[in-house]
Amino acid sequence: MSLLRVSGLGKSFGGVKAVDGIDFELNAGELLALIGPNGAGKSTTFNMVNGQLRADVGSIRFNGTELVGLKPREIWRLGVGRTFQIAQTFSSLTVVENVQMALISADRKLFSMWRPAASHKRAEALELLAQVGMAGQADRPCSVLAYGDVKRVELAIALANDPKLLLMDEPTAGMAPKERNELMALTKELVVQRNMAVLFTEHSMDVVFAYADRMIVLARGRLIAEGKPNEIRDHPKVQEVYFGSGKTFEKDKMALKVAT
């Protein structure tokens, strides 16, 4: 049985059907990319899965639990971590405290008013930071980090409650090419280690084609194609609505070869 099963999902804003009845599934250990041109409904779909938007119709079942109608924090408690398009961290906490905050919440200790928070599972938080290569900066304020590092910290926060599914909204937006590949390689490694599923939206095609196991393509709120990267690349409908002449790929063949 698949980990995430989305069926008949739809959402309208005013008269516009932003997402118009889409279906897809996601299995454990799989990196699924959600792509499409601007206005295709990627963010709307994504935000319905993470609970920020409520779906009008359809269902999102995670491990058998219906997610539609749940709040983001409730979805998180079921084991769904997420990262944001513009990284969201707690700027007045240190790097390690950011991770500890998520651990505290996972342990339901938020209303504890006596024991110092800084000593709560510090070792465990450092271990998570080590996994994303940020242990060396654990005690720096999060506000002084370089943006690429903030993204890594965010990943560590998202991993804190040992999620079965990780939602990443444009994980490499605003990063330099080298950083992008490092972050995605790291994600891929974590997916393999933890047998975790990842659903991510992405605009940068080199990242998508290099790292996604499978991809779904949206256009005008509808799902127009689904399959492995090379299937998608040759899909006539995709080329028509999304890729235009198809020349976009010429320069990415190298990256593809490296990954496969």
Partner: protein, 632 residues
């Protein structure tokens, strides 16, 4: 309750709405563009009346009334421009709400300047030439000047609308209201835009004041009175919306008129005095509107500001230097009564300082870490104080038990208000807390049989073993220090971290399972509880309690203390409270014009230490370490 009296009240309401609108429109305009909550706006209104009075009466036999009104408005507008250039322009980049402190200092300075120039007596201006008489409406006399005022409101609204929609300058103002950084990025000189907007807002306030001259005497209470009403109008209408301000002014003025018309009515055997409601009607309206439409009738959600000041540094474990300092301070506080037996006043003052420190620390607890700017924190101080007084006097509860129960009463009040307040944020949250505090004040002020009304309650003395001031000082010292230590502990605990997390990034907090609203609600109740402790201690230290203790002035004092001490520093509340209370006491004993002195001192502190006093000291001592960012 005849029909003709109803019509007259409706017209009265319309005239009242016009004056309210003139002040509120300027306030709304200034907030929309500069994001400054201009506390001094009521003072500018007051100056409008005074200047118009001088121009008509004293200057060489007097100018005509109409030129005097216009000149007065212009004079206040120019003053507004000067204030903006000399003062506000220097602190636009200071942390949020910091400008509020500066404008509050201006309130104090302007009030004393008016006292110095015009004296404490009320000054009644002349009737307006040509409009001195009255017209007959359904057999009742109605002043023709009020009919003129009814017209003024819509005329000003129309002119402002034309100015904002038909001129290039107006387009810039509207653009800046939506996104001022972007307007700056497009090459518009923000500094002059801000100055012009501030001058226009001040001019409108001055005009509103000057036009009021034939209706009410100029007096020194007008500033805070007016600013309260104007805030309500702006918030109800939606911050930054000029038409919203008119609609809100109309709604509130008419509801007030309706209450006066209804007078005392019997409903199902209950006697309801609607005329007494006039004191709170605007705050009731505001509370209802904010709960139903959190951004006001015609407002929009605030765009987040892109320079919200410096990011707060992470909490560091308390180091030995700080511990040594605290131990030394504690030692001094412990031996103080023994050293000052010759001057017993020192002990009395120290009790006041300690209580103020706890009050401000409790406010800092939600303002700093949780980012909730409460403008009505005195409500819980007052609730604690009144609960203590009533429990001892009416229920004859022992004083010691009262000290436990009274804070719980304050916490219960905070539980109710907090439930509404955490739904909002920013200025709207501030205004809703203010509304509830004002409603609490009005109830206490009018409920003569229980609270003693404006006289308050007397004979609230502590138990015999605490009758000696030194003994009471030690009780206060122990309770205040234990409370402050626990609050500090709480901030270092997961709860405190979660509050900061919710403030730093509500999105991320929600995405790691933190229910931010619930955290804020609990924090609000805790802050109310400790304000209640301070209030109960206060009641027993004075032996009496009056409505002053939960007045908006007391809430503002709390704000000033926190901002003065430093919002981003844990000790900020206590340091600010001690500084403020001590300054207040010292200055008030040495000069008649203590308000102006206090205002000037606050202004200097604001300009020199934009991080607050405790923040400044911390930067001096720990600056290097924070910059490097390692754990020292």
């Amino acid at each position: 309750m005849s029909f003709s009296s109803f019509i007259v009240q409706v017209l009265n309401g319309l005239a009242g709405a016009s004056s309210l609108f003139l002040v509120a429109a300027g306030l709304s305009l200034i907030f929309g563009v500069t994001r400054i909550v201009n506390f001094a706006h009521g003072s500018l209104y007051m100056l409008g009346i005074y200047v118009a009075y001088s121009l008509t009466e004293s200057v060489g036999g007097g100018l005509g009334f109409w030129p005097a009104v216009l000149l007065s408005a212009i004079a206040v507008g120019v003053l507004g421009a000067v204030v903006e250039v000399l003062l506000l322009r220097r602190i636009y980049h200071a942390p949020e709400l910091f400008q509020l402190l500066a404008t509050f200092a201006l309130v104090l300075v302007i009030k004393d300047a008016a006292l110095w120039i015009w004296g404490p007596e009320e000054l009644l201006g002349p009737r307006a030439p040509g409009l001195a008489g009255s017209v007959s409406i359904l057999g009742r006399q109605f002043p023709s000047y009020d009919l003129f005022l009814i017209v003024v409101g819509p005329v000003v609204l129309g002119s402002l609308w034309l100015l904002l929609t038909r001129t290039r300058w107006g387009t810039l103002v509207r653009a800046a209201t939506q996104d001022r950084e972007m307007v700056g990025a497009l090459g518009v000189n923000q500094a002059w835009l801000f100055t012009a907007v501030f001058a226009l807002g001040a001019l409108l306030a001055g005009l509103g004041g000057a036009l009021q001259l034939p209706r009410e005497p100029a007096n020194l209470e007008l500033d805070l009175h007016t600013i309260g009403a104007a805030f309500v109008v702006v918030v109800v209408g939606g911050m930054g919306s000029i038409p919203g301000a008119y609609v809100a002014a109309l709604l509130i003025a008419e509801l007030k008129a309706l209450c006066i018309w209804l007078g005392v009515v019997e409903v199902f055997g209950f006697t309801i005095s609607f005329s007494k409601l006039t004191l709170v009607v605007e705050f009731l309206v505001m509370a209802v509107v904010l709960v139903v439409r959190p951004w006001g009738l015609m407002g929009r959600p605030q765009a987040p500001s892109r320079h919200a000041g410096t990011v707060e540094a992470p909490l560091r474990p308390v180091d030995n230097l700080f511990k040594a300092g605290a131990a030394l301070l504690l030692l001094v506080l412990t031996v103080l009564p023994a050293l000052t037996t010759q001057t017993p006043y020192v002990t009395v003052l120290m009790i006041d300082l300690l209580i103020a420190a706890l009050f401000a620390t409790s406010l800092h607890f939600i303002m700093g870490p949780a980012g909730m700017h409460s403008f009505g924190h005195a409500a819980y101080f007052g609730l604690g104080a009144y609960a203590a007084a009533l429990l001892v006097r009416s229920l004859q509860l022992p004083m010691e038990l009262t000290l436990v129960v009274a804070p719980l009463v304050a916490a219960a009040g905070a539980l109710v208000v907090g439930w509404f307040s955490v739904r909002l944020s920013g200025v709207y949250l501030a205004m809703l807390t203010l509304a509830f505090a004002q409603i609490a004040w009005a109830i206490v002020y009018q409920w003569d049989t229980v609270t003693g009304g404006s006289n308050g309650l007397t004979g609230v003395w502590p138990s015999a073993w605490l009758a000696d001031k030194a003994a009471y000082y030690y009780l206060t010292l122990v309770l205040v220090i234990l409370s402050m230590l626990w609050l500090k502990r709480c901030l270092y605990a997961p709860f405190g971290y979660a509050m900061r997390a919710g403030r730093d990034s509500p999105l991320r907090a929600d995405a790691v399972g933190i229910d931010v609203k619930r955290m804020q609600w609990v924090a609000f109740v805790i802050a109310g509880l400790f304000a209640g402790v301070a209030g109960a201690l206060f009641a027993f230290s004075k032996g009496s309690i009056s409505p002053e203790s939960l007045h908006v002035g007391k809430s503002v004092d709390g704000l000033v203390m926190v901002l003065l001490g430093g919002l981003q520093t844990l000790t900020g509340g206590a340091v600010g409270a001690v500084t403020f209370t001590w300054l207040h006491d010292t200055v008030a004993r040495n000069t008649e014009y203590w308000k102006a002195m206090l205002g000037a001192i606050i202004l200097i502190l604001v300009l020199l230490f934009p991080q607050g006093i405790a923040g400044f000291v911390r930067q001096i001592i720990y600056g290097k370490r924070d910059e490097i960012g390692g754990r020292a």
